[in-house]
């Protein structure tokens, strides 16, 4: 419980934006978004265990425009959080903490996230069409 009169360290609005900092913020934001996705998964499991009306309701919501937007969003968040999480685990071993490597791994994470998101989107939407 920080007292409000304590001096604060410089925050986001002070620093120039960097890729590494943007990815750090995105890691947290996608993590929070994925919790919402996790509740969606529980809804799916409960509907699956319930009667056919419950499952039809779930399928109708998932197939609605809002459901599709949410699904696409969760897929993008999952792709990013998955690869950036691996990056964090590598940092935890002590590897890659210097700035050039952190920048390089940031670029690798972005490329892998975009590619895997595209592959996932193709499997979900392209395969069915």
């Amino acid at each position: 419980m920080a007292s409000p009169d304590r001096p604060l360290s410089p925050h986001l609005q002070i620093y120039r934006w960097q890729w590494t900092m943007a990815l750090s913020i995105l890691n947290r934001a996608t993590g929070v978004a994925l919790v919402a996705g996790a509740f969606g998964m529980v809804w799916w499991l409960l509907a699956l265990a319930g009667d056919s009306a419950a499952y039809d309701d779930f399928a109708a919501c998932l197939g609605s425009p809002l459901g599709i937007v949410a699904t696409v969003g969760f897929m993008a968040c999952l792709a990013f959080h998955f690869f950036n999480g691996i990056r964090h685990l590598l940092w935890d071993t002590g590897w890659g903490l210097d700035i050039p490597t952190a920048f390089r791994t940031a670029m690798i994470v972005i490329v892998l996230s975009v590619l895997s998101f595209a592959a996932l989107a193709w499997l979900v939407f392209g395969g069915a069409a």
């Binding site: 419980m1 920080a2 947290r28 993590g31 929070v32 994925l34 919790v35 996790a38 509740f39 998964m41 529980v42 499991l45 409960l46 699956l48 265990a49 056919s52 499952y55 999952l78 998955f82 999480g85 691996i86 964090h88 685990l89 935890d92 996932l120 499997l123 979900v124 395969g127 069915a128």
Partner: protein, 126 residues
Amino acid sequence: MKLRHPIATARGIGSAQGGVEHWWAQRWNSVVLIVLTPWFLWFVLASLGADQATVRALLAQPWHAVLMLVFVGMLFWHSMLGLQVVIEDYVHTAWLEWTLHMVNRFVCLLATLAAVVAIGRIAFAA
């Protein structure tokens, strides 16, 4: 004038001494999730467009039921620890912070148990 040494006012209101367990749990949770997420995506893709009975039959297979249970458990444990840090970082009003900590734990536990009951019902009713 305050005669108390600053360390005396700082003692006892600092770390809850639970940081290491939290840190380790979040790491090994994430390793399990890295392994299980490809399986989960495969499972979802296999269920796409299938009717309810087909998906239930797939989930009722012992290994899929077990993996789904582990996935759900790890996912909500990981979620709970992650949200806890977000609350600690951004919420500085004491009563609100502790309320949110309790809501976070309760909701994650509730979601886990709901998923376990759903998976169990499908696995044991098959």
